[in-house]
Symmetry: C2
């Protein structure tokens, strides 16, 4: 078989592959990331690259614009290697973890719920899954030569009322020497059971008194990003936070693409290894940033959606995407962190949040638990918008949930120049009401590369309120501006001309993009309405909305209501929790109560398959407008639009 060398720029990473190898696969193998929302199936059109030297077979597609084709762009997933190649990966494919670790821009409407340790302590619930106890044992004598472990057990029972202790083998191995290092003064780390009558596992022993240093890790395994935190279990606060892009990203941007890849030969192993590698990177950074000794970490808690959780645990996920959509398990046992390749000691217990169904996973359960919603009187609507969107309604008495097939529009998927909320993404926008000239605000204040989810909402809402878009999401063809134009049979608005953009092309938003956004917001809105009607309630019955998801923290609430993504509700009733998945993982690191309650909570979460309910399709179609077919559902917006119309009517020439 002929072999060719492929050199990827600007990374300068080279790989030798067989002739005929798919170019995106060559990139995956060399560790170079190329955007490919669809996982290399040739349908998203995002994986454009420039072949600077050498020949590829194929790669041309209608998904590429006429200019792109002229400039030599090819779709990597449709190209196969014919010779030695130099391939330039454009800026929009770059993933840089730095942007994930910038301080979030505060939104005026945001009310982030922080963990409340005082509250936990007051209620006697500050019992982390891993606790440390300092022991001053009496050294053995001829007359008292019981086994070292028995001596510890006796002491812990008498001095600390500890019972049902079981020692890990790895700890027993350490006990004799550690006890004798500081004259039988030592600190034991005890992993608490989920059930109160379960065993208390002694998982570590350290010489002397180390009880003032006890840490937990909380990790959110997102489809796109992986965030981790170090939690100081003595002070009860977050020490450090770090995020990175999920190493699986090169294998597809959504869970379906990942599952498809996992079904290929060796695919499951690869995806498992990649996510473990990312998690290990995050753990390494967290330990370094917080300057803690890894021996002082007693637990690590993970939360992720069902697919992410199964791939993380190396569980065949093919049945998740095939009717009748059956997950392997809802609940996972605690295990030792090194068992699945995590760079943590044998004494670290790994805990994994349980799932509800194939599409309502541990990330949602984590949010429900961490926000306290599962235990509150208030009737709450919980919406998590990430690579997909999930909705939960209920309170301490009942919970219903559903996954909405919203798709990744809010993370830039399905939007021609959509992108994740990284440097260069337009995140805020305003428009001159007279000239219709835009003002773009980008993340990092650099030249615009594309549009992120929160930016998209602001742009569409602004254009809609200003009459540039109608309620079907079509541009007003009558406006006198060069920015609205027809291109390849599609109307688009030029947000930034090529000469001020960060790429070599105009940054545009077209009607297909807007249609995709409307379908996405319609899916979420109609998901909420369908769930409400299934339980015989309406939006007026809801006491509060909890908005979760990295995207959620940045969204402008009024604009989200303007496009009909969210029902119109008193903004004071909306709580932004940011990364709900990470929040729950953090909270259950601080109190075992959550771990005790979660199994029962998962069992009482009734999952609805929206497509199987009678009302969903009607609700969905009614929601495919800005903001909705029934404007009476959005009375404040209706009033604003009417006021604007009357103002416009008063203008000269109006």
């Amino acid at each position: 078989m002929t072999r060719h060398k492929v050199n990827f720029l600007p990374h300068e990473k080279a790989i030798e592959v067989d002739a005929g190898t798919n170019l995106i696969r060559a990139a995956m193998e060399s560790g170079v990331h190329i955007n490919a929302s669809c996982g290399g199936e040739g349908v998203c059109g995002k994986c454009r690259v420039i072949v600077e030297s050498g020949d590829v077979e194929g790669g041309v597609s209608d998904m590429l614009s006429s200019e792109d084709r002229e400039k030599g762009y090819r779709l990597a997933c449709l190209s196969s290697v014919k010779s030695d190649l130099t391939v330039r990966v454009p800026t929009e494919s770059s993933i840089d973890a730095r942007v994930l670790n910038l301080q979030a821009t505060a939104r005026k409407t945001a009310r982030i719920r922080e963990l409340n340790l005082d509250d936990l302590k007051e209620k006697g619930l500050f019992v982390p899954p891993g606790e440390k106890i300092y022991m001053e044992l009496t050294p053995p004598t001829d007359a008292d030569n019981i086994a070292d472990v028995t001596r510890m057990v006796d002491y812990l029972r008498k001095a600390h009322d500890e019972h049902r202790l079981e020692f890990d083998l790895s700890v027993i191995r350490k006990v004799p020497d550690i006890l004798r290092r500081e004259d039988f003064k030592a600190t034991a780390t005890i992993a608490r059971p989920v059930r109160e009558d379960g065993k208390n596992r002694v998982v570590n022993i350290q010489a002397g008194d180390t009880s003032d240093r006890n840490y937990a890790l909380a990790i959110d395994i997102g489809t796109t990003t992986i965030y981790g935190e170090v939690i100081d279990l003595v002070a009860g606060r977050v020490l450090t936070r770090y995020g990175d892009f999920n190493g699986q990203l090169s294998y597809g941007e959504d869970v379906i693409s990942r599952i498809v890849y996992s079904e290929k030969e060796g695919g499951l192993d690869t995806l498992h290894e990649r996510v473990i590698a990312t998690i290990n990177t995050v753990i390494g950074k967290l330990i370094k940033k917080s300057k803690i000794d890894p021996d002082e970490i007693s637990t690590v808690t993970f939360a992720g959606n069902t697919t992410m959780t199964q791939l993380f645990l190396k569980i065949n996920s093919r049945y998740l995407r095939r009717s009748p959509y059956v997950p392997a398990s809802l609940i996972y046992p605690p295990f030792k962190a090194p068992e699945i390749g995590l760079d943590l000691g044998d004494h670290v217990t790994a805990l994994v949040y349980p799932q509800v169904s194939s599409y309502v996973g541990g990330d949602i359960v984590s949010g429900i638990m961490g926000s306290g919603m599962y235990n509150d009187e208030e009737l709450t609507l919980y919406i998590d918008i990430g690579t997909n969107a999930e909705v939960v309604i209920g309170n301490k008495d009942w919970l219903v949930c559903a996954a909405c097939s919203a798709g990744p529009a809010f993370e830039g998927g399905g939007i021609k120049l959509g992108m994740r909320a990284t440097e260069g993404a337009i995140e805020d926008f305003s428009i001159d009401p007279v000239t219709f000239e835009p003002m773009n605000v980008t993340i990092g204040n650099v030249r615009p590369l594309g549009i992120c989810g929160s930016g998209l909402i602001v742009i569409v809402a602004t254009m809609f309120e200003m009459g540039i878009l109608d309620n079907r999401g079509k541009f007003n063809r009558d406006l006198d501006t060069p920015r609205i134009r027809e291109k390849d049979d599609v109307y688009e608005y030029v947000l930034a001309w090529a000469d001020v953009s960060g790429t070599d092309r105009d940054i545009v938003l077209n009607e297909i993009d807007i249609d995709n956004l409307i379908r996405a917001k319609g899916a979420i809105y109609s998901g909420c309405m369908t769930l409400l009607s299934e339980v015989g309630l309406s939006i007026g019955d809801i006491d509060r909305i909890i908005l979760a998801g990295g995207f959620g923290s940045y969204v402008d609430l009024e604009k989200a209501m303007t496009i009909g993504l969210l029902p119109e509700i008193d903004p004071e009733k909306v709580i932004f929790v940011g990364n709900g998945s990470l929040m729950g993982a953090r909270m259950s690191s601080l109190t075992n109560k959550i771990r005790r309650d979660v199994t029962r909570t998962v069992k009482r979460m009734t999952n609805f398959e929206l497509s199987e309910t009678n009302s969903f399709m009607d609700n969905f179609i009614a929601a495919l407008f800005l903001p909705h077919t029934d404007m009476n559902l959005f009375p404040k917006l209706k009033a604003r639009l009417e006021e604007r119309r009357s103002r416009m009517d008063e203008l000269p020439g109006g």
Copy 2:
């Protein structure tokens, strides 16, 4: 550093070592076994080898006889390598597992207690630690798409009243595919908890109905030998048995030598690896011989003395041989077999018998449990004679125990030509009362190489009853036979002349050997008497004696009483259980009741350090005679001796 090649014969195993390397260490590293009771400390004199070519430094010692020295023998442990060498290891150092696997010769007085499955079933106690349940699940549909594991849990609860189930991660990984292999018909293996309210761990799943194939392994980790059994948990019977020499044997023959070695750099790792390697050999042979599928093994139960258990689990054992003699732990948690390097699947739970103290270990506990003594009304004296000897007295209400510093005389240790019960060992013996010519019976009916423990007892008892030895263990100097002679200032009896022996030398028993035997039997007898007096009892109160240990199965009961090893008791009250350690491991493979009772039993076993009791030294000194200073303790023997004396007096010339 100069390097030299050492070639060991007859193995033809060569190794290159630094000049100056100790010869016995070179043998250890090359995997060649050389007898070294003392672990290479230069005091036992057993490690003689012939240096056939090349030079060694040192190696000459008083421990070698004058003939040995003339023939070129050196003690390997005192020799260091000076040049390339050819070293012949003599026959007495050969260890051949074959002899361990011969059918035991039945003794007329032996009443081996077999496992009694019917009895267990009758009492409802036939609940092995690993059970299999066949499941016929309803395949999922759109309307019923609960997680696979939840489906299993629901089925097991409804159809089999199974509760508190927890699935191992390794099982969850298998579940989705295995369930779909035979249309949701599958067999689950469930590991039972020790406490009745503990978790039932689902540790394996297999497609279809495999519930008729469920096996356990029971393994005795002896200081000298490792025996294993395959137990059919459906039929409730032993399928196969296999034994091999403990690979640690080259590092010392008793536990003290092993601990000394384990304290050297890397020593603990080496000893751990060697015993694991032997166990893996035994497991491999067991699986091959019984033709079972390793996937059908659900548990493996280990029993061994405290040192063997700690080395097996790679636990620092230095504190076991240093005052105040503290073991690391009494109880060990169940763990997954591969965790410590065993060649078994991840689904196999490894269970380890608990210890009582540094010198009363899991092998004894196992015997107490397996024999049912811990649960019986009868007052029992349990004696286990192995590389050391331990004594337990008690019944279902109380138990006391002690280790006797008997030393390894019964396994050939401390006896000039002593050897383990392998081919060529004299195991039975008689003598012509007129000519004093002996008749030796050897294991395997080959030329004699030496004397094993049971042979030693028969020889000494016979000689004592015939007046060849007096009650101090001295040869009758007046007898007219060339077989009794003085050699290097020590009196000895020639059991076999060199020309009929299996070696190049006379097989002899000398007065030092007999003295060592008397000290050994005196330690055991006085141990029993001291324990009895500590609890205010005498031998007449004992309802039965259980005699355990590989050696125990072969011993002639009357002869053992003649030398005063055992108290004189109705032979009908003596039960031989053979390998008591293996018996307990086997029994707890059949019924979880033993695992439930063992923790409580260990806690109520009161351990006596004999050397710290007031009466021990008096008892010991009184027992340093054949059979004892007080002949009234042995009335039957006394009568026989008196009868013989009067018969002798009647003989002409008597």
